[in-house]
Symmetry: C2
Subunit: 110 residues, 2 copies
DNA sequence: ACACATTATCGTATATTTGCGATATAAGAT
DNA sequence: ATCTTATATCGCAAATATACGATAATGTGT
């Protein structure tokens, strides 16, 4: 039975997993890449870059937004999405912290 | 129709997504954390730390291993898992590279 | 007010993930 | 050889994710 046990893990573990999950699809990586390269809000045009239907892209954007990896506003027929640098930095920082100890002594292992 | 379109993305995008996916479950984060803290091979004992059945833990280990985040050997009733620092470093490096540009000019955005 | 263009949401089919118990496997101990 | 112990694999049920078309929502222009 797949009663998910995610709640039995620590807050931080869940958080890191949630952000990783948002990053776990090539389309979402591609979206972030596009946003990073443009280095400014993308107002549309995302659908044309991706090999996916508009509704699917919208879903992916929603997921990225829900974990705070991007910010986005829609103003009628216009949209403005851009990377939330703060979340990304925190995420990378969490990983670096997690493996800090390992980094310094990474020879003890097999 | 959920015919997955992952193949239509670049190699790098798929690779980053695959590793993110491996990290997208709190149990797997917890496993990496345990391995990092011990800073050496863990020969068993992982099941006792996690709120999951043995078979489930084994599956999670398999997933981490399949993307190269950990290395593992089983020798009869004994196992030896440890973090593959190389993969982890590459992963974090890929992200840093992806957002390098953004990092330097992250004020242009909303 | 009306049509237009762009984005979001809903409904739904299919695929994948999660979790466990049961069973298999494999080395060490008696 | 048999028993014990630790790990892996199989089979299945339930939950999630993926993708799309259809439709709704929301400003803009006429």
């Amino acid at each position: 039975m797949a009663t998910h046990k995610k709640d039995e893990f620590s807050q931080k573990e869940q958080e890191m997993a949630a952000i990783s999950k948002a990053l776990s699809h090539p389309a979402r990586i591609a979206i972030l890449k596009a946003l990073a390269q443009k280095n400014e809000c993308i107002c549309g045009q995302l659908v044309e870059v991706l090999p996916l239907a508009q509704s699917t892209v919208s879903q992916h954007l929603k997921e990225l937004k829900s974990v705070g990896l991007i910010t986005g506003e829609t103003d009628g027929p216009r949209s403005c999405y851009c990377i939330n640098w703060k979340t990304l930095e925190k995420f990378l920082g969490d990983f670096n912290f997690l493996f800090e100890k390992l980094k310094s002594v990474n020879s003890k292992c097999c």
